[in-house]
Symmetry: D3
Subunit: 331 residues, 6 copies
């Protein structure tokens, strides 16, 4: 009998080498291919869960499976795990659409490894400590907004690059806020509350720029307007709802949002012109790069590469990278 | 006796060569300089009105003038007009601050040569003819807004380059709308009402980006936020005030505003992605270039240059220009 | 018995799903491949006609076919149409070289959907209406030149991007001329005849830059000299054949040809410096972009994509696009 | 009687308005000019000390002064302080070369406002705390090197932009080290000792790139080789003098030096590829920008500009700036 | 009595310090200025001959001089030579328009220091030695063309940068041909005759791009069409006049002309694609840079700068330069 | 019986079509693949020697081969040569690891076609002829250094582009030296010995940037430091070992090394500023481009392409190329 819970994850494939498993997946990719030289067709799939994805093949009797399944849906499958060309694959003997009741969506998308509630509480704590009451009520107007607050706790920070996982936005912002607070004592011209406000709100537009279901993608508004301008619109709406909010603070926060990408060619319509905007833009860029680097090192470690080796060319950074700690520790 | 009205204009200097005139000016620039080799100081000024500006000198007794006048104020002067190094100058013998009652501000800033009321009526006529009722009420929400409408009729389109005069924004928009309407029949994928909406609203942020008194300058918000993002904020506010305004139209209009500069390095956070946005961006750029060219040709003609000559290097366009019509007509 | 006319077109594949057809194609690509794991070889082809192209496979007995056919030739084939991986393919059982008498070349290359003779007549009509007799005889020297005129009516406007079909150059130019004529009234500094002359001659070098037989490609001269400089050479020759042609007009037309790409990095050795050159360059770029956009939308519609979706990333424009009309019409 | 000590400084000019002073200066600029319209010549100078510079004029009897003084030397002068065109000037009646014994060079060049010995001690303290003994002896090999150590305590960090004063290099490095140490806890992949080593040595080449006497300038080696490559050469020499220094550490430190400008076009022959190099490059750039910004705000405050105003266009940053704190505090 | 020949040259000013001279000049610049503080006007001029230019002043009685002289004409003057601000000036007491019979134009424009007839003969010799008869007759078709040949021997190679003197084009081409011939043996894939043809013809368009009378300037055609496209047109005309000239050679020579600037942003519509075009473009750029460098070193030597000093920033090369030979020779 | 020497080379495959051969190869690539549709796996390899590389397949019994062989090792194989899809492949029946004694490494990597000893002697001859004794002993300090000298004679000049073969660095340098010597007479401001020193040492860092065994690759130091900075470090060490070596010469040689890539974006931290550095940079770039071009033409000729055809797009040069000699010679 097929089970009713997901108890096999992609990351566990090595433990099940050669065994037959029954489990659930999200279907990331789905296509019928022709058997070369032998006539007939087979089904090629990429199946995924929160721990990764793997190739699957269904050689026979896939007509009924095809009739009900599609990319983006959840399936229950039975099949044998085996290694081909250095990677684990699964050869399916059964596949059917999974019922909603059988599936816990959180099992199928990558998520932050930190506790979202704890991160949220820490972030709110920083805001509660603001000396500037106007900025405090502005930030809480976002965090306490039901729809925004919920989305903020879930949203990834990107579709593919750094922090591309549930809770990634919150994780990214929280690290950024911590770094901002650590750096602020050395720059007396910076208003700490203003800087932290910028750090918390700069990417708020991502809650509408990205959508996250079984996969992450851009919304149409995200592509046509972009998270910078979405955020600016959200700011205007919140400010309008706060009687007596100082115009000067509005302009300074708006400026941080608009300029945080730091360069025109990265989609910022303004360059950073205040101490807070310059600091925020530099630390945001740094934090994204460090996380992207961490992802590359993790991928290489998972692939068993030695620390003495450089990574492949990293396209988003236009260079290869070296994990200096692993390099130094290696004998 | 000194008169009480401005009856001498900079453009008329040639008619008054060698004569003493009594008139009013705005003070564009004001500085005390040392008389070389002879000891003592004198006052050097640039005085301007709507027809242009000219240098002035006050060699003696300028202490009391200095005590009350400053850059940006209006003055009443008496002095002699004469030509130095090919340009007219005025040597002042008297100067005092002008009373508000003596001055008609319109005499001191350059203005469109077209009738603002007529242009406004023509523009409104195009909107009344919209088939799309939602876009019609959106555009009228701007035009009928007292503050915005008044500012729209007065604003220059730029601080220095094309259409840098009172009414310049309206003049620029109206020509753009006419050209859009002329071109639309050849591009069936374009929604005419949507395009004209974009043409009317794309630069609406300039009413807050620029300030226009005795001189034109950028507001602080203009520098920190920019007319593109200001316009986007204004759009959001108007849309929120229109119950049931379709979300799709909002995104498409917002996209036209954000992308109308056509390139990231010109401050657009998005590239044009719809037929309307591509058409608007191309025709807006063309219209600005043609007007800039017209200004150059006008300046050369005023300076008496022959049509067979190219202009000097035009920095904003990174090239010299040739007035082909004048070139062909010249014997 | 095999038929003697092409009565199956690629675009009709869906109607023949599962059926055996006998028809003609141009061979776009041709290669022998090894049957994986089973020994032996098979023939893989891409067959095309004016409506598109499709994959073909010949599993057996292809030795004699291989001996006589090659890329670029026409073949008669018999085979079964079927869908693999979402696309129609044809499995060939017979293939032989087609005789010249069996083939109407027009069936094998994409063509404009407009009537070439009508477009040609319209274009000539605009020239006949020129007030400037010199420009009129110059343009007719091109249009009435047997070789040039014939090629002008047939040439595509590009190898791959916008207007890559027979008659595409004429279609592109005619739209451009119409738009120029529509816009001219708003720019009094523009000489209409001069502008239209530029519109008609700017791409004339494409008749030598491109070759169009069963496929479109660049000529060696096209790659080494380019259509801009080819056009300039053609202009010099025609002008030399017209006694008394004014030197000034020659320079102005030559300048429009040389500068019409608008930027050095697009291969223009000069930037546009006259009103006509600036207008021509802007409208030519716009017209090419609008047609490229139309092609993308057509491709997506053919693929059954919903209007609410953006296109894939369009490499030549460095952005995705949105069909705003389809987007608005969609429920 | 002329005094023997410098007791008038440029920054005090306002207190001496209209008075005759006797004091010392460094000669920054020196030229003979023709008296316009009156025949004869006069001497025009720029005189400077550590607090700034001011214009001077000597109208008569300057022949003997000219015979002994030149740019870069120290002079004793007598003259009258007065304001011309909004700035203080001094009209000289006497000038002679100053004897070495009359001059304390520290009075003539701008210096850090911090205590150099204290900064030096703090910096050494961080190195003493290194856990990595190899890096500790490497850094001390530089700091304890007599010539390098002395120069390091004196050198400016730039000729003109940020930290262009005696002790500026040490001040810049110390702030950078503090910021690095504050940020390190948030990036576990970073080796703190390695990062701080990079922060201390990255600009060490400036001790040979710049020369600092009465003015700051580039050495010939500085222009032909540059501080990045000079530093790399210095590192190689020090490493060669340390038996058994690990090759891996040498490569990682060398890489930080070579890549710290972060972009090829800023003269870095390598992009940062390790966590330490990426962090160092980002924080170094940030620290330089924040100091440049501080200089701009200081200049505006000294000139009496209101905090609500933006600065002029700052060429090195390609934008104007806003002192947000002053802006918020202003009524 | 005033003499009738030019026997004072700008370069000789030092020998005449304090003396009154009577001589001829070309008027490069001419303006009336106001005497500061003293009333009245004076005449300020720049006077030049082939050895350079110097400032002149005429303080009195310049009305009749003004009535007949203008920029670009030749004048006879009497005046006193003296040094102001480190440069020689001349204070005029008399000035009148010079008669054509008094002036040898060659005295007034800078010229090559080599013998033009010898250079011409050497160049022709290389062509006579061509093995390829078609290229030989092509090049001679240019050199033996009366108008072109005369202009070729006189034309400068540039308006301001390298080789900006009479005979400069020939001098530049001859050096380039010599270098090409020296390098060719090391590149067997290069056709020597084809390369030398390219070297001789690549800049031939400069005979129409530039005009050279008393000053050098661009012609209108030079600005609107440019020397690259002018040369291409000249090539087409010559080729058409040579029956049976091989089409392949025409394309290869045309390609060298079009691509010799080596980059799109330098105005080449094509990049070099053949061995000859790549070699020509590289050596032409090198030759121009070496001459520009020589000019800078000459200027510094004339100004008495020491060889150990770098030049000022050279704008056209975006760097300062060092005369390495002088640097090494200096003690 | 299997033979003990390599007597079959990849370039000879056509002679052995259909035959069974026994020979040795280096393993460039090695992977196990799944037999499509038929179950089971097979081994796919790329085998190479100094003449090229070819695909190989092993369908059965490859378990023991897999256990001992890997990428980068040498193998002895038996198999049948046959053509698939226009290229030769080998179907293996036996494969084992080769013993070191069976393999001559020189058989497995591409090498210069010139005699290394002769090239070395010619290069040394040029140095012996130096007039400048300091430069002579500097260059010999490199050439006579055992480790450096050996590496210099073997190193390739690049991993993939021009001169990517054993001896390629020496071959590249020697041609460059010859060209430099041929050009020097035309540039009197160039010091010939200094220039040739630069030519010999500019790429010396490549002996540590690249590693060459059975394949060419970058060392970790090569990626992190780069050959320019490696060379600079080597220069500093050699200069330190030469007592009394003139500082001026050191700076000039160092500058040539640092600037030889000619542009910041190509990794040069300095632009060329001396006549020698400008000449070296231009001729080095030319020599690399000419060799890259030669490689492209060789590849096309080997593939049987006609000389009238242009090459495919060459990515490193961003253009296609034309072999003009072949083009002219073709009928």
């Amino acid at each position: 009998m097929l089970g009713s819970m997901k108890d096999f994850f992609v990351a566990d494939a090595a433990k099940f080498d050669g065994q037959t498993v029954t489990t659930y997946f999200a279907v990331s990719s789905f296509s019928v291919r022709e058997k070369k030289g032998a006539g007939g067709q087979y089904l090629a799939l990429i199946l995924s869960d929160k721990t990764g994805s793997m190739e699957a093949r269904m050689w026979e009797d896939f007509a009924s499976a095809m009739a009900t399944c599609a990319e983006g849906c959840y399936v229950k499958v039975q099949g044998q795990v085996a290694k081909y060309q250095g990677k684990f694959q699964i050869t399916l003997t059964k596949m059917r659409l999974a019922a909603a009741s059988e599936v816990e969506p959180a099992d199928y998308v990558p998520s932050t490894k930190y506790d979202i509630a704890e991160m949220w509480a820490e972030l709110r704590g920083y805001v509660e400590a603001f000396q500037n009451a106007d900025l405090r009520r502005l930030v809480f107007a976002f965090l306490d907004d039901g729809a925004i607050g919920t989305a903020y706790r879930e949203a990834p920070a990107a579709k593919m690059l750094h922090h591309a996982w549930i809770g990634g936005l919150l994780e990214h912002v929280l690290t950024l806020v911590r770094v901002c607070r650590a750096v602020v004592p050395f720059y007396p011209e910076v208003d700490a509350d203003l800087l932290v406000t910028g750090a918390i709100l700069h990417d708020i537009g991502k809650v509408r720029e990205l959508s996250w279901g079984t996969t992450f993608s851009y919304t149409l508004e995200g592509q046509m307007v972009g998270h910078i301008s979405i955020a600016q619109g959200m700011l205007r709406e919140k400010v309008n709802s706060l009687p007596g909010f100082p115009e000067k603070l509005r302009v300074l926060v708006e400026h941080m949002i608009l300029s945080h990408h730091g360069r025109y060619e990265f989609g910022s319509p303004k360059l950073p012109m205040t101490p807070e905007a310059i600091l925020l833009s530099a630390l945001d860029d740094l934090e994204a790069k460090m996380q992207a680097m961490r992802n590359e090192f993790g991928r290489d470690a998972a692939a068993g590469k030695s620390g003495a080796e450089m990574t492949e060319w990293v396209r988003s950074m236009e260079r290869p990278l070296l994990n200096s700690k692993a390099f130094l520790e290696e004998e």
